[in-house]
């Protein structure tokens, strides 16, 4: 089926099988492999992307449902080789170990900061409760989101 998707600001006209998820299309047809696949049932959050600004598990969204919609993936954050505030904060706080959960984690955090610009610890935990990490103790991820929020306030970003 013909589907028109705007991914990271670029319009793509693609032919998607009716059973293919948004994740399948992003990874296999558009080769945007930054978005990761783990559980494929909406529990781990590794495939989180923004769909019209809202965080979704792209494994649970059919590609054909996204006709005419705007999608942001991890590749759409930052610009011109520079990291965005969240990406930089994850690096600065040492929140990244193997990195496999990190794209989904950062996109989920991006959504959290878009609705709660100054989240407290409980709000960060709630906002990232759907994103599993197996390497880290999570506490540095909480610090990273706090740091990014504080820097955004300071810089008016």
């Amino acid at each position: 089926m013909k589907v028109a998707l705007t991914v990271n600001g670029v319009l793509h006209a693609i032919d998607a099988a009716p059973h293919h998820s948004l994740l399948d299309v992003l990874r296999d047809q558009l080769t945007l492999t930054g978005t990761k696949e783990c559980c494929a049932e909406g529990e781990c959050g590794a495939c989180t992307v923004l769909l019209n600004g809202r965080a979704v598990n792209s494994c649970l969204v059919l590609a054909v449902e996204c006709d005419g919609e705007a999608i942001t993936t991890i590749e759409g954050l930052g610009a011109h080789g520079r990291l965005d505030a969240l990406q930089q904060a994850f690096v600065d706080t040492g929140a990244v170990q193997c990195g496999f959960c990190i794209p989904g984690m950062i996109v989920a955090a991006r959504y959290l900061l878009s609705i709660t610009p100054q989240p407290n610890e409980a709000e960060i935990k709630e906002g990232l409760a759907g994103n599993l990490c197996r390497c880290a103790g999570y506490s540095r991820i909480i610090s990273a989101v706090s740091l990014a929020a504080n820097r955004k306030i300071q810089t008016g970003d």
């Binding site: 990761k36 696949e37 049932e41 590749e75 930052g78 990406q87 990195g99 496999f100 197996r134 540095r140």
Partner: protein, 723 residues
């Protein structure tokens, strides 16, 4: 940097032209005799390029494994665990492969299965492994893969004022790396190349070559940085089959397991441990008597080594004058168990540390104090014939206790617990590094370590930068390709910083010696930069200086483990929990970790490793367990029903502290780290729950349901007593 932008290429992100897609076909049945496999419909399905069963494999069917050559490339005669590959589809697309997989019909006769320790030891149970595969093995007609007895002194009950005895259970758990297993294999001009995020490329190269009956030189392993290993990506999985498929079809083949398939590919061994410990009235250990049964899966994998290594050091970091440790590795019709962070020691620690906590309670001695009384001083021998205590272990104990306010008054429904953990590190092993000083004064460091998130790239970069005096941005760290990097035993046992670190230093020294030799004939060498010196030395043809370095510890044939511990990985965990009296739900309020690491080359990375390992420990302590159905299928297969800690399970107050005295064998006095957190959490949390809720539980995980039931039983007993 690539890890926050999505540009890092994990194995599943690699695209190779003309790749075929592989799907494994298995039975939902732990043990069955395989009859006819009907593949015609699948073969006729669109896009299918091949359907293979054991009948299509070379004869005798190649069997492989890191120690025992017991695992066939595809189930042969019998399927021995639910999820074992019985047939395999290769097709032009993933969809076509999946579609065809559903068209394969397998005739089978279900057979009785061995799913528990009790069943494995029952003489009436079927044998998991064909005795013909175990020639000259006196245990070949049993389900005992191996049995070990360690000990010293004579167990003497009469010498003890108190004997504590109990059974402890540790569940089957799964690694649950967020990156599921992924494999890519392709023919190349020398033979075959396999991409997979393995922790031990050189082990895999050896195993794949042996399975193909090929020379090692014709097998190339590329291991992209993994999305989490934890031991689960250490030992071979289905790579020999993938290599064979690529060669048979003459095209690249790709397989990415689902998370459910990854659950069925590897797990931690469950364990039943009967522990009996004698104490003097002042809390000194008089003896320890441990019987440990570890339940392995259908194929040995590295399971035997897990059991021997963990049971060898099961008495922990204490002075134990008399000990007897009997351990058995049992085969069963379940997913093969393999290495998993802590390598069997979390299972043993749960029993031994809980014994100390129970003795402390009975003797009226503080749990911190009872440990202090039994801890050896630095330099003191404690495990006969092995490395003496190599750290300030009492200091770690005090700091962890202080970290949670050990002596402060406790609130209602709260309790505290403390535990130590000690793991024998790498024994006999070898690491080789090559450092190439290029013509422009930049350098490449080639090493066979795998970076799975522990930060090996960063640490080895720091070491090379320091030794060569070259800025990090002028150094490339090259890993994970057996055709490029020199030999390394493994990325395991927290060994890479110590051994590969030392190998890199050795290689840097070689470079510096050669540089010095090059400068001797040049009168103005002292005034030259490295670049100018290289230019003067090599002239117009140019060149580079290559240093080779090596490190390791020697193989000791008479030592039960093949070598003494290069260092001890030591951890102390102290925690405070709150137990909801209505629901039994546990909240970890405080968790304080202290490890003795000699020297942290990158303190933030080491602390993060300890924290991550401890949260993983909270998983097997409070929530994780693979539950088997009567048919041997994992009932909670997948993330919906198998819970690992989420961000909401992080302790409210969580700190990790490092003790650094530069007393390790690694670079600048470093010891290995990264597994310790998994060793000590369970017994600390168990003791804290006991104090908070008045229940003594000895079967992990300590779920709300178990706590609630145990409390209900206690209340019932109390009421009866009142009557």
């Amino acid at each position: 940097m690539e890890r926050v932008t999505g540009s890092q290429q994990y194995t599943a992100d690699i695209r190779v032209d003309r790749t075929l897609h592989v799907k494994l076909v298995s039975l939902v049945c732990a043990h069955a005799r395989i009859g006819t496999i009907h593949t015609d419909d699948a073969l006729r399905a669109p896009g299918v390029r091949g359907v293979f069963t054991t009948d299509d494999l070379p004869k005798p069917v190649p069997r492989y494994g890191p120690v025992f050559l017991d695992r066939p490339m595809l189930a042969t005669g019998e399927t021995k665990f639910s999820g074992e590959p019985v047939a395999v589809i290769v097709a032009e697309t993933k969809d076509a492969a999946e579609q065809a997989a559903s068209l394969v019909r397998i005739d089978f006769e279900e057979l009785p299965a061995v799913l528990s320790v009790e069943a494995a030891l029952d003489a009436a149970s079927p044998l998991v492994q064909d005795p013909a595969l175990r020639p000259n093995d006196p245990l070949a007609d049993t389900n005992i893969l191996r049995r070990w007895t360690f000990g010293w002194g004579q167990i003497d009950e009469a010498a003890a004022d108190l004997v504590v005895e109990a059974d402890y259970g540790f569940p089957m758990v799964t690694h649950f790396a967020i990156e599921p297993h992924a494999f890519l294999a392709a023919p190349d001009s020398n033979g075959v190349v396999v991409w997979t995020p393995t922790q031990h490329p050189y082990v895999l190269q050896r195993v794949v070559a042996a399975a193909l009956n090929w020379p090692i030189a014709r097998v190339r392993i590329i291991s992209p940085d993994s999305g989490g290993g934890f031991g689960g990506k250490g030992w071979p999985k289905v790579e020999p089959l993938m290599a064979w498929l690529a060669l048979t079809l003459g095209r690249p083949v790709r397989l990415v397991l689902t998370l459910e398939e990854s659950f069925q590919a590897s797990r931690r061994a469950s364990a039943h441990i009967r522990a009996r410990s004698g104490f003097s009235s002042d809390g000194r250990i008089v003896f320890q008597d441990l019987h440990a049964d570890f339940l392995l899966g259908a194929y040995a994998d590295i399971g035997g080594r897990v059991v021997s290594k963990a049971s060898y050091a099961a008495c922990g970091p204490y002075r134990v004058p008399r000990a007897r440790i009997v351990a058995r590795a049992l085969l069963s019709h379940t997913t093969p168990s393999t290495a998993f962070r802590g390598f069997g020691t979390p299972q043993a620690s749960w029993a031994v540390e809980s014994q100390l906590n129970e003795a402390a309670e009975k003797l009226g001695i503080d749990p911190v104090e009872i440990r202090r009384r039994n801890l050896p001083a630095k330099g003191e021998a404690f495990r006969p014939d092995d490395t003496p205590a190599d750290g300030e272990w009492s200091t770690a104990l005090s700091r962890a206790a202080a970290g949670i306010g050990w002596t402060a008054p406790l609130g209602p429904n709260r309790g505290r617990g403390i535990s130590l953990g000690l793991k024998s590190s790498s024994t006999a092993s070898r690491s080789v590094a090559i450092v190439r000083l290029h013509f422009d004064g930049s350098a490449s460091v080639l090493c066979g370590t795998s970076d799975m998130g522990q930060g090996a790239r960063t640490v080895l970069m720091q070491i090379a930068s320091q030794e060569l005096g070259i800025a990090p941005d002028r150094i490339a760290i090259v890993m994970g390709d057996t055709s490029v990097v020199p030999y390394d035993s493994s990325t395991s046992a927290s060994r890479s910083t110590v051994f590969m670190g030392n190998a890199v230093i050795d290689a840097c020294h070689s470079v510096k010696r050669q540089l010095h030799a090059a400068s001797t004939g040049i009168p103005t060498a002292l005034d030259m930069s490295v670049t100018e010196l290289l230019k003067a030395h090599f002239g117009p043809p140019r060149g580079e200086i290559i240093g080779v370095g090596e490190a390791g510890n020697a193989y000791e044939p008479d030592h039960p483990l093949g070598g003494r511990a290069a260092f001890w990985e030591f951890m102390c965990a102290a925690c405070e929990v709150e137990v909801d009296p209505e629901t039994g739900e546990v909240t970890v309020q405080k968790l304080s970790l202290v490890s003795d690491v000699g020297k942290a080359l990158n303190p933030r990375q080491v602390e993060a490793q300890d924290e991550g390992a401890a949260v993983m420990g909270l998983g097997h302590t409070l929530m994780e367990q693979l539950v088997l159905g009567g048919d041997g299928r994992i009932l909670n297969l997948g993330s919906l029903d198998y819970r690992i800690p989420s961000i909401k399970d992080v302790p409210m107050h969580f700190e990790s502290t490092l003790i650094e005295n530069g007393d390790g064998p690694g670079p600048y006095g470093a010891k290995g780290a990264g597994e310790g957190g998994t060793l000590a959490v369970a017994a600390a949390v168990g003791a804290a729950i006991n104090e908070a809720a008045g229940v003594k539980l000895r079967e992990l995980p300590l779920t709300p349901e178990k706590i609630w039931r145990a409390r209900a039983n206690e209340n019932h007993k109390t009421k009866k007593g009142d009557e």
